[in-house]
Symmetry: C2
Subunit: 292 residues, 2 copies
């Protein structure tokens, strides 16, 4: 396979997820931190206007603006639609400075610890995940693509990419421990790519645990669309932990419990993510899988 020559590190795709923004600013002050012998690294603050106003986005979610259909649609003129086109035309496949690999830095109010979100199950990704977990066994590997959906995320602009999702962190807040762990994870990914390019990756045949998204569950809502229940205290902050059929997932404002009606044990993630109330998503259901 060809080498990965150009890596793009992106912060602030969501303006109120400031861990990635301050990491990118740090890397811009100290560029040697992200340089490796066989590759060139670039940084990008993806949504500076959203950061300036302390919001996820100005007009629309930038991290849902990268489908090919939207990128090629001249009638989409919102701030984020324009920004997506600029980013794609610069760093996308066929752009002026095309990246081979993009690392997009996010945080979540869900208790997802250190999560790496991958899109494909090619060997490069599986080996990357195995390498990262060998350094830190607490890292979780999430495949969030639900097959029926188009893929509009920033990390899809070039051949290889991943999203780092770290939490629980409130929007607009820095958590020093998670900041430092995110930085370590970025260095580990760059080291992996360096070893990949140099052909010095250790052969690994370890089993790898991944979490494959299957569907999402919304909050119970009334006819006006207003939520009628909260995440149940027994489920709050329990991302990646087994949820059994019949266990409580919501509690209404009137103290009635609502139970999980699936047939199998599942592993919810993005539980109580602030930005997903408006997206109609209280949690994302995943299945735990072992791959080799």
């Amino acid at each position: 396979m060809s080498k990965i020559n150009r890596v793009l590190i992106v912060g602030g795709t969501h303006g109120n997820e400031i861990t990635g923004i301050h990491l990118v600013k740090k890397f811009e002050r100290h560029p040697h931190l992200i340089q490796r012998q066989s590759l060139k690294t670039f940084t990008l603050l993806a949504n500076p206007q959203a950061y300036a106003i302390g919001k996820r986005y100005v007009d629309t979610d930038l991290n849902r603006s990268f489908s090919h259909q939207d990128i090629e649609n001249p009638h989409l003129t919102s701030y984020e639609a324009q920004r997506a086109k600029e980013i794609y035309q610069t760093f996308g496949s066929g752009g002026s400075q095309p990246a081979d690999f993009v690392i997009d830095l996010h945080t979540t109010t869900a208790n997802m610890g250190l999560t790496i979100i991958l899109d494909h199950k090619e060997p490069l990704y599986l080996q990357l995940a195995t390498y990262l977990i060998s350094l830190n066994p607490n890292i979780k590997v999430l495949y969030s693509r639900i097959e029926s959906l188009d893929r509009p995320h920033l990390d899809s602009i070039c051949e290889f990419g991943c999203t780092i999702e770290v939490g629980a962190i409130a929007q607009g807040v820095l958590d020093a421990t998670l900041f430092q762990q995110t930085e370590k994870l970025i260095h580990a990914i760059l080291d992996y790519i360096e070893n990949y390019n140099q052909g010095t990756l250790p052969t690994s045949k370890n089993q790898l645990t991944i979490y494959q998204a299957t569907h999402t569950i919304d909050y119970p809502r009334n006819d006006s669309g207003e939520i009628q229940a909260m995440i149940h205290p027994q489920l709050q902050f329990k991302d990646y932990q087994p949820l059994h059929p019949g266990e409580a997932i919501f509690i209404t404002f009137e103290d009635e419990e609502i139970f999980y009606e699936g047939d199998n044990i599942v592993y919810p993630v993005f539980i109580n993510e602030a930005a997903y109330y408006e997206k109609g998503m209280a949690m994302c259901i995943t299945q735990k899988e072992e791959v080799f």
Copy 2:
């Protein structure tokens, strides 16, 4: 002392602190929950436009818009300035439906548990605090007024008032446990006022621990005003715990520790509150006092 006949419960003074908003909506669906024999209870969603856009405020912080000077200034025409005037003209002293006591519901990203913020040390307040702590010893009593400052908070619109501050909760998120605990606290305050009106309060001579704000500490910043450090991991989520001179309070993005330079043990609160980055406040320093 005269009776407290009219109590106002306020949610959504900040549009992204949604616990109070959903509590007010619950009380509006079930008004009997907040009725007591000797008093009339009202509810208010203070900043509906900020709630609609998922932000703390539209133009300016509503909970800093109630100084007498601002209320009487006809040149202030921002959304929140107008809203403050409307609220004051309705529920303030001399308003069309004047309240005697206001309970203003807030959340914080700081780990402040269940905090009641009081403004005066009159017997009514001290007895209220003692009563609440007798029901739940985890409740903290904070006097946040720093004498040199004017008092622009919503809970100052009538003779008696308090602010309930609950956390840690991310902005835009409901935490079911803290929702239920906040509701219990409101019921306890109403019960206290009912007993006060009926003259059936037990005489209490217990010692009461309060936290008196003395000053605030900002993040280290560069010449452009950008923060250069984060709350130190040893201090994160340690609200109300003793901070000793020489202990680390910040860590820079370059991993340098910054230490507390005061001369005495203090008790920081509002540590890493998201909304206070823009206010130049990383934490609020308090002294622990015993009152009788």
